[in-house]
């Protein structure tokens, strides 16, 4: 899931204070699970902003709404009309959602971020989130016992560990596990330590963010959808 954290309230207030009609727009998927930007958080933030506006003597209408997902058009459709009546949308979706809605509104209304999108992670225990994938576009987890060296190693080493491992912790912080320490121990348990003896060559990072904006195009799905649309149009006629 995508993990995020609500921005500091003062930063949010600075963003919104010049607007008169503001919608706090939550997303009920990933960011709801991490208590950052779901419908509930959007509602609480709305109350806080109303109080702040009253305190500061600012005339502002603040409302809230939430939809299941901010990354696919169909979820937006039911609220599209209502959304277009506001001066500002403060989205508490992840960065994907903010971009998606801003593109959808095409510059007619500004869409501001209410949360900081942190990482792709898991929830090992309630209220605790850890980064587990870097979305590098070229997965090597079969070589490293299911432990990502790209984001779980502070130096993204492919041939670790470095000399900074201290009692199984990373030199960056003694609260951070050394990924390569974990990888070696995991590979021992799996009986595949010998896989680590091979030198991994320099990576091709172009599959990640270093190759420019990425897209995935499934031609068969797109062709099918196009055909369906055509059929529907023909039948309609």
């Amino acid at each position: 899931m995508i993990v995020g954290q609500q921005k500091p309230f003062d930063e949010i207030w600075d963003m919104v204070k010049g607007f008169q009609k503001v919608l706090i727009y939550g997303c009920n998927t990933c960011v709801a699970i991490c208590h950052a930007g779901g419908g509930k958080e959007a509602e609480i933030l709305t109350s806080l902003l109303r109080m702040k506006a009253a305190q500061e003597g600012v005339d502002m209408q603040v409302d809230h709404a939430a939809i299941e997902r901010h990354c696919e058009p169909e979820f937006f459709e039911p609220l599209d009309e209502k959304v277009r009546t506001y001066d500002l949308i403060l989205s508490t979706a992840c960065g994907v959602g903010v971009n998606f809605l801003a593109d959808r509104l095409g510059g007619s209304i500004p869409v501001y971020p209410g949360i900081n999108t942190s990482f792709y992670g898991g929830v090992p225990e309630a209220g605790f989130f850890v980064e587990l994938c870097g979305g590098c576009g070229n997965c090597v987890l079969h070589l490293t016992g299911g432990i990502c060296p790209i984001v779980r190693c502070s130096k993204s080493l492919m041939n670790g560990p470095c000399g900074g491992t201290n009692n199984g912790k990373c030199e960056v912080s003694n609260e951070t596990d050394c990924a390569w320490f974990l990888i070696v121990e995991r590979m021992k348990k799996l009986g595949t330590l010998d896989k680590l003896f091979e030198v991994q060559p320099p990576r091709d990072w172009s599959t990640g963010t270093h190759g420019g904006p990425r897209r995935v195009s499934l031609e068969h799905i797109r062709a099918y959808e196009e055909k369906e649309e055509k059929n529907a149009a023909t039948e309609g006629r």
Binding site: G164, N166, V172, P201
Partner: protein, 326 residues
């Protein structure tokens, strides 16, 4: 000869090699480098020029290496993977070779967050690079030298001829993997290895035995790292806080004793600890050189370059061998 560097020649001659360390200053003043180079000259075969160690901005290793070279001290230019991508690395390698640098040590580099824990501000908010890691950088240098090719495959009309080094932390954890970690660096093409500072020689000996059994010590020149202790406090700090370093209690006790003997005389306490530190270093060097497969020592007298002369002399490693100009 792969590079024809002085360090390579000493190692090839079968004599024990001595390398030292020169940390460039946080200043645009070259005199600090010139001063240190002249103190070290004659007491080592080459000196490592650190590359913004602890992620603090200093004179770049390539520039400081050239200054040292002009003073007659052969540099081992260090290159971290933290600050440059493979394009900048290879460009710097070509430039360094063109300027006459012949040794390069590949290291991952201290993470930029690391410096935030120290006394200096550093740049903990910097973006790091880590495009390639140490093993990969070693491989790139070897490919450039031996095949005349850039990592991307483009041809080099004149290849940079480096004597390629890598660091090794023999006692870092997971300790049973460290010999294999070394193997990867050797497989990638490391001609020489400088280790993290060693105080526990028995433990190092057992790690070396494993490296020997993997057939690594015929394929690379192992230089045992010795960090010259200056005080009991420094030894305690190294033992508790420096990754991959353990200091036997007996050594800490010796330093404590040297300190206590001086009583309240702080100046004397410092002098006695420094004397004891030099004595300990000489003993460690002698023990290290007896370990089969060790081809020399990497002595780090950090911000205490004047200690090199008495250490090298007392260890019977003076004068350093010289060779006629090739």
């Amino acid at each position: 000869m792969k590079s024809g560097s002085n360090l390579e020649r000493v190692i090839a001659s079968g004599k024990m090699a001595v390398t030292a360390e020169l940390g460039p200053p946080m200043s645009a003043d070259p005199h600090e480098v010139i001063k240190k180079a002249n103190i070290l000259k004659g007491f080592c075969d080459a000196a490592n020029i650190t590359d913004c160690q602890t992620a603090v901005v200093r004179i770049s290793s390539i520039a400081a290496a050239v200054i040292a070279l002009r003073e007659g001290l052969e540099p081992v230019m260090q290159m971290t993977c933290r600050d440059r991508n493979r394009i900048a690395m290879q460009a710097d390698l070509l430039g360094a070779a063109a300027l006459g640098i012949k040794n390069c040590l590949c290291i991952a580099g201290d993470h930029q967050m690391f410096s935030a824990a120290g006394k200096l501000k550093g740049h903990p908010g910097a973006k790091n690079v880590y495009d390639v890691d140490t093993c990969q950088l070693v491989g790139i240098m070897k490919k450039m030298r031996d095949e005349g090719l850039q990592q991307g495959g483009d041809k080099l009309e004149v290849a940079p001829k480096f004597f390629v080094g890598a660091s090794w932390t023999p006692m870092g954890d997971p300790m049973d993997f460290r010999p294999y970690n070394l193997k990867k660096k050797v497989d990638a093409g490391a001609d020489f290895i400088q280790t993290q500072g060693i105080y526990d020689m028995e433990l190092f000996k057992s790690q070396m035995e494993k490296a020997r059994n993997l057939g690594l010590l015929e394929r690379t020149a192992m230089l045992a790292g010795i960090i010259v202790p200056k005080s009991a406090m420094m030894l305690k700090y190294m033992d508790s806080s420096v990754a991959g370093v353990t200091v036997p209690k007996s050594l800490i006790d010796r330093m404590n004793k040297a300190k206590t003997v001086a009583g309240d005389d702080k100046k004397k306490a410092r002098e006695l600890q420094e004397q004891e530190g030099i004595k300990i270093t000489v003993e460690l060097i002698q023990q290290a050189l007896e370990i089969p497969g060790v081809k020399g020592v990497h002595i780090q007298a950090i911000e205490w370059e004047t200690a090199m002369e008495p250490i090298v002399k007392a260890a019977g490693l003076y004068p350093r061998p010289t060779f006629p100009e090739a």
